[in-house]
Subunit: 333 residues, 2 copies
């Protein structure tokens, strides 16, 4: 959908955190990017080859991907001049920003003049159906979290990568703007109209070979007051055969909700499984993915062992340790 | 907001189920409607005075309310000619249809030519916030159903009516187009963008007097694969102090989902309460509302007694018997 390879635009990113999208592409689809483009004052650095628009074009780049969050929700004049220059050189643009490329008259004009495409991946480009709940062929796994931003996308990508390494049939299914830009397509679930949420997830994960796995990118949490409805639509639209529990053990409260604590993994397991079994009575919780990025090595390994022992489920950090245990568990279903 | 009284347009409704909006207005705000308008082949009949546009105009009608779902999401030519005639006679139009009056060029032109208003109550007219989950003052009750269309709106309206009869502080909070058309305002929850669903419910049910009850109109079902995400947003955004379980015992399968059965009331109780307690640990399931419209009197009364005994909760049909038992239970919280 979005033409590859990309040149990754880092703009004047104030820090690495702002470059989440570009980092995701570098880590999971490095073959899709020829290099990085940084403006003066840029504090993010992917460690990729530094390229001008002309050099990247020469190297085959088709799309300039905005790999960075912008400041104050405004596409600055400094960005604009780079983006327009790129369009004039024949690049498509792709962005997951809240404010849309298609709402910037000068970008639209330059895209039209040059026959280029503007991809705003935050906005649905499809009229999704109402979910039918009909049983689909193929297998699906969904990571559900104790909170938002606990590593659900990375877990799905790591399991997909591990399966493909093993020669298994496997597809990552993106449900958020970062995932969509990394993978090239998907459903921007948090921007879908309420009635069509579950239908959009069914649309994203259609019938497939019996031995094919969809790794559905999780969103929010069933225990997060702001976004639980989105998570519920993933559970019922995704019709998972397997659930992975996702957790980040160093949080002091639910993300954005100072009055709320993360649930215990036991509670998440029981609630998520009960709800998933509404659409797939055979669904199982098969493993646990812990995000240990804020723990030291010894502390992390001890924590993984403790959880694995307590919960009786394969437990890993797919980034620190690898997703092998989770894929082993899925392969046994 | 919408000018009263109404003439209720039933179009060519294939059955009474399609006339849900008109039935709601007839049952809860009969003083707001002068009569009904039926086209050839209409299979719905409210038992109200049959009127032409001219007769209703004579009787004082200000707004033609589309009280019926349309087929295939298209406003047919047959409907169009009536709607345009109504605009030419000075009627406003109000509709809860998915496809909007304001997107039909001929209706917009006729409305402008005649200085009439087009009310599309399905579309949010507010930029809702992200939910915060913060504890609010006042009391809230939500009816959660074993299925869609089991009488959740009627239950809320009946409890509100009964509380106001008793001199209690009480407000019906509409979350669907029927409720909005009947009550005059509310949040069209199924049309809200996913990320803002729970926030829109918080917006709808703000801080209030400690002895004031919000009766939040339920939507969908936690067990309905198509719409469970919407229901989840009501549970977490609504922050209910009390849940009523809603059930229609004669359904052969979940509405629109031939492969799915309704859950047992015990399952609904356990799942809904667990989820509600995420945002309000003191939430209780206080009663059961059974829709016995498809049962005979003896069968209905026996069923109510059986459920009350089995579940150990006050059980009634708020339409057949009255909402008194449920209000008694709420008053004791």
């Amino acid at each position: 959908m979005i033409k590859t390879p990309y040149l990754l635009f880092l703009g004047d990113a104030p820090d690495m955190l702002a470059a989440k999208v570009a980092i995701g592409i570098r880590d999971w689809r490095p073959e899709n990017a020829v290099g990085q483009f940084r403006m003066e004052g840029c504090k993010a650095d992917l460690g990729m080859t530094e390229m001008t628009l002309a050099e990247a074009k020469e190297a085959g780049a088709k799309t300039l991907v905005i790999g960075v969050a912008n400041r104050g929700g405004v596409i600055s004049d400094a960005w604009k001049s780079v983006l327009i220059e790129a369009l004039n050189m024949g690049y498509d643009l792709a962005s997951g920003l809240h404010n849309l490329l298609r709402e910037e008259a000068d970008l639209v004009a330059a895209a039209e003049a040059n026959g280029c495409e503007l991809h705003d991946v935050r906005v649905p480009s499809v009229q999704y159906p109402i979910a039918t709940g009909k049983k689909r062929t193929g297998k699906r796994v969904l990571t559900v979290g104790t909170d938002c931003s606990v590593g659900k996308m990375y877990t799905a990508m790591a399991m997909d990568q591990e399966m493909r390494k093993r020669g298994m049939k496997s597809t990552f299914r993106a449900t958020g703007q970062t995932g969509i830009l990394v993978h090239g397509d998907g459903v921007p679930l948090d921007a879908v109209i309420a009635d069509f949420m579950a239908g959009s997830v069914e649309y994203l994960t259609p019938d497939n070979d019996e031995d094919h796995w969809d790794h559905i990118e999780g969103q929010g949490s069933l225990f997060h007051a702001s976004y639980s409805g989105v998570t519920m639509a993933l559970v019922h639209g995704g019709q998972p055969d397997a659930l992975i529990l996702g957790h980040e053990p160093t949080r002091e409260h639910m993300r954005g909700l100072p009055d709320y604590q993360q649930p215990a993994l036991e509670d998440l397991r029981d609630v998520a499984l009960r709800l998933a079994q509404v659409v797939n009575p055979n669904c199982k919780v098969v493993g646990i993915s812990i995000n240990t990025q804020h723990m030291g090595e010894d502390e992390a390994m001890a924590y993984l062992a403790e959880v694995e022992d307590r919960m009786g489920l394969p437990t890993t950090d797919p980034i620190r340790v690898g997703a092998g245990k989770l894929v082993d568990a899925l392969a046994n279903i």
